[in-house]
Symmetry: C2
Subunit: 431 residues, 2 copies
């Protein structure tokens, strides 16, 4: 009766008390509240929302359900989280890059599910790379190298794991409050001093529209503030993949390009911006332009690249500058005009079809497959021009992917304005 | 994945196809869809609503999940359903009354849960009354007497039973679409020619406001029409109990008063109105005033009373004109003025506290307890005047109830307008 009345309060847009939220999370974990009650509550939260206070309390309860990473050095501890998008390989570059500024980056990350790839999957393109470091191993590596990218340890945020597994099968993933609590509880468990969030919008992202992404950004920003975690939020456009490469090994290779001072402009720009936010927030630099200059110097010097190689080797991986990829099959333009749009959902499904992504957890991956994007929205297009190279394990796989891709590409007879990668951001005022 | 995408469609206010709704209901019944998915879907239906077409499809699927009562006579078959309210004993009077007009009334009813009493509980105040008639027994009694009031048989609408049991513990009861499908699937399983619905609003009803009740009335009316069942809907005020008696045996006694041509005006008026709708709809009478005249004659003649006694005895009960009740304890007015409001929730909880209602299914009842309401909203009140008689099994029970009741009664220093029992109705146009 008590559980039902708490669900009814959320359903009727009445604010829950701290005790009530704790009761639900504890009950979920000890099994005294049934899964069918938690899933109905999750749907009520999705439909009716939660206040800022409730969201902070939920985050706190989920954080408190497990342990936190101990602090083991005096260096400020920072991290970046992205809401996920096609071709987003920024984490792999940012962690070693900002670690060069005497910052610790304990990046606990996830695997890919659905259309967006996973940071851990990309790193596992290196033979032997371990994503299951224990807490002592994480501490040791932070001390030695200043950055680590591994999976969340079993001790951390069990409430998030349980709740997420239910949300995943009950249509309750896209809730602003639940996403906020899930992201921030995991990041708070890293005992951070500063966090930067990349909230993506568009056809290749989780939030389809700028407006939805802004709502999520505001929720993340205000909840983080209430929890006492200094957090910057950047909104970025995901209506086309970030960089040229979408897949696993091909993205790892692109990361090496950027770490060596080259690589696609958009990947580089977004990485510099997110990294600069952290340098300013931790007072390593006094302004974003200053920070950007310093970051570019470190990239050009090769120090960030060296740190990346150290990280991979420290986690058991065999570094390789250019991991061998599957065979390339070009997709040719069927008409003349300007590239108007790319359906991110379809691109993602094409990658899953090639074996480069997962339909369900437990699916195994072929790291060598993916897509190479050869043009960007706004580019002029000629008939017969290659638009995308499919990296496929077989002719048949390539043909299936080509069919999906042709319908995902829209070419306009009229000129199209290129997209702005970072159109706006939140919370720029506070230092 | 399919289940999750169906839940997501409802969540995103996209209309489900017939196949999709069937898939959910079949999956719920055969266990291939988990309870946590059905409960999340129910909450999405509650929050986002369903279209008229979806609601009709859901009703159809729930109906098709079980058997229907076979037709065994040429008499038109009618029934009444009420959304439930304090002191609502109309079913007990209406069934034998309209049966006197050569109509069959196969009234399958439920038990009380929460603040409103159950028709079956009231009838079980007669020793030996059976509420578990089999389908052949129902058919035999309809042929013999023309009316039966018993529980739904196990063969009928299993989908409704399963869904309701989940809704009850997940805060998803008050959904217009789900209530509509639940009520109408059960009534359609009775193979009716005509149905009248009493949709109640106010503090003693399930729908608190007239506006909510109107929404439900419209949904019931339009869904019944789509399903081809002639249905009239009447809205009635439940801001105070119907009649003087609230309980089980005491309500049965009041039913006998009305069947003998006496009894409280409101019970009599509402019964006449609902019955008249059925007589007009089945062409037994040409207008509501005509029908009302005929109904009054039958009440005065004692024929409806005789039919009631026959029904009780045919179902194994021992009829008693005045079932002995628990001892009366008066609640006195603490100030002078006019009776302004009665909190129906509190009155209902007082009855549950006395042992006359259930907190959970399986609670046993004391049929002899209840409340006798001695004044109505708008009545002038003197200090020390008895407002309510508590029928309690002990002094202690009476004291607890009196505490609850004092806070449920509001007396105004200014005159108060009496309530209108039937302020509006829906669908009066069609003959």
């Amino acid at each position: 009766v008590l559980v039902t009345s708490i669900i009814a309060k959320t359903r009727d847009e009445q604010e829950l008390s701290t005790d009530e939220i704790q009761f639900m999370i504890h009950g979920m974990l000890d099994g005294s509240i049934a899964d069918y009650q938690i899933s109905a509550w999750s749907m009520a939260i999705l439909c009716r929302g939660m206040t800022a206070k409730e969201t902070a309390t939920l985050t706190e309860c989920m954080l408190a359900s497990g342990g936190r990473l101990a602090r083991t050095s005096d260096r400020p501890r920072v991290d970046k989280h992205s809401t996920g998008g096609l071709g987003d390989k920024v984490s792999l570059i940012l962690a070693p890059l900002v670690a060069c500024f005497d910052l610790d980056v304990p990046m606990l990350s996830g695997r890919g599910l659905g259309i967006t790839g996973g940071t851990l999957d990309k790193l596992e393109s290196y033979d032997g790379y371990r994503c299951d470091l224990t807490q002592p191993e994480i501490a040791e590596q932070l001390n030695a190298i200043g950055c680590v990218i591994t999976g969340t340890t079993p001790q951390m945020t069990p409430a998030d794991r349980k709740l997420y597994s239910l949300r995943d099968v009950t249509g309750t993933v896209p809730s602003i409050a639940l996403i906020t609590a899930s992201i921030l509880s995991k990041k708070l468990a890293e005992s951070l001093d500063s966090l930067v969030l990349d909230v993506k919008f568009g056809s290749g992202a989780f939030m389809g529209t700028f407006s939805e992404a802004s709502d999520l950004a505001r929720s993340l920003s205000s909840t983080a503030k209430q929890m006492g975690l200094a957090t910057r939020v950047v909104l970025s456009d995901m209506n086309q993949p970030l960089g040229k490469m979408v897949g696993n090994a091909c993205e790892a290779n692109e990361v090496v390009d950027v770490l060596q001072g080259a690589g696609p402009t958009d990947v580089r720009d977004l990485t510099l911006r997110l990294s600069a936010e952290l340098l300013v927030d931790t007072k390593r630099c006094s302004s974003l332009p200053d920070a950007t200059n310093e970051l570019v110097k470190v990239l050009q010097s090769g120090r960030a690249f060296d740190r990346y190689v150290q990280m991979i080797e420290h986690q058991g991986g065999t570094f390789c500058e250019s991991i061998p990829l599957a065979r390339r099959y070009p997709v040719l333009a069927e008409k003349r005009g300007w590239l108007a749009s790319l359906n991110g959902q379809s691109l993602g499904h094409a990658v899953i079809g090639l074996g480069g992504g997962r339909r369900t957890l437990g699916d195994s991956l072929d790291h060598s497959v993916g897509l190479e994007m050869l043009c960007r929205i706004g580019d002029p297009i000629d008939i017969g021009q290659p638009l995308i190279n499919i990296l496929a394990a077989s002719d048949g796989d390539s043909e299936s992917a080509a069919n999906v891709l042709q319908s995902a590409i829209e070419i306009s007879p009229d000129p199209v304005t290129p997209l702005t990668l970072i159109p706006s951001d939140i919370d720029r005022a506070s230092p």
